[in-house]
Symmetry: C2
Subunit: 197 residues, 2 copies
């Protein structure tokens, strides 16, 4: 049984992009399950096949890649009301090359890939919802590539902080720096020079 506040958040998230009926709501409730994560607990590890898409009810998570030298590269960040998964592994049923870890005690609502397909068949409005969700994710990813080319570190941080102040407040500086492609020392200098203005 899903907690009513968690499902309310999910429904509000869905309603931002599509209008859904009472029947759509009921179908949705059937296919999501709740999962709680401790701080630092993993939702996915490299070499596993990702089986779920995840809506974050509360907490914060990061997706990262570990390179040959053991260095971690943050690929994705998620807080309350964001979605996080390894879409490649989920859709193609291949071993994941990334980790997804909770940064705070977190609660997510999960849907299994097979149930996602049943949901699409039963309730086509969710096809639309996930089309719009993927579209936005693609646009965000493209903008990230573009910003890495077009903006210097200072401009990149400023744009991120203006668009996602809640991430800056909650995500530890080293992961934020890794996400923005800069060293933690450089990020800290940017933040200090910002406070002085």
């Amino acid at each position: 049984m899903l907690a009513s506040t968690s499902i309310k958040n999910l429904l509000r998230n869905v309603a931002k992009l599509v209008s859904i009926s009472w029947e759509d709501e009921n179908s949705l409730k059937n296919y999501f399950t709740e999962k709680r994560l401790l701080r630092k607990q993993f939702l996915l590890q490299a070499d596993e096949t990702c089986r779920h898409d995840n809506y974050v009810v509360s907490g914060s998570l990061r997706a990262f890649y570990v390179d040959k030298d053991g260095d971690e590269h943050t690929l994705q960040l998620a807080i309350d009301d964001y979605w996080i998964t390894d879409l490649n592994s989920l859709m193609n049923e291949t071993a994941s090359s990334i980790y997804i870890q909770a940064l705070e005690p977190s609660e997510v609502l999960q849907i299994e890939s097979k149930n996602l397909n049943i949901l699409f068949a039963e309730r086509p409005v969710f096809e639309r919802f996930f089309r719009l969700l993927h579209q936005r994710a693609y646009i965000a990813q493209t903008n990230r590539i573009l910003n890495n080319i077009a903006l210097n570190g200072h401009e990149r941080y400023r744009q991120f902080a203006d668009n996602f102040p809640e991430f800056v407040r909650r995500i530890p500086q080293k992961f934020l720096a890794s996400y923005l492609g800069m060293t933690p020392v450089f990020l800290s200098q940017l933040q200090n020079s910002r406070k002085l203005r």
Copy 2:
């Protein structure tokens, strides 16, 4: 009136991801128009609002960003049977920050964003098709970011050449190098050392 071979290609492309009925086919035909581009002609220029999604029937195109110093950065490449657009500008009706240019004489089938929405409403199977298309684009984009972190230039080129031999054959080396984030000289060295193996 669309050329029957062009529309046949589009239908074959769609059928790779979804099954469509006779009625779906007819709807699709109604909303696409043909556009021919000369070599070097622009499909989109920076500061314009992108109005179409484009299926490439034949030819080749590249999307690129021009930085403050006037340097061009190749973001996307498309040949026969690929799609190309500025999804951000198209979906959010904002001014584009990129150019899309034909590298060879090209033919594309275009659908206007407003007709795309009508098509989704009339024929929900295309909602699914574009969900899958965006999903794949997102996965490709994420893999590109991951490859830039995980692979050196030599490995990145090898992976690209193995997966997309037709692009290597047809796209001029300087654009390929720009797409792969390396200098044309370095790419040419990689290709020569490859031929010797």
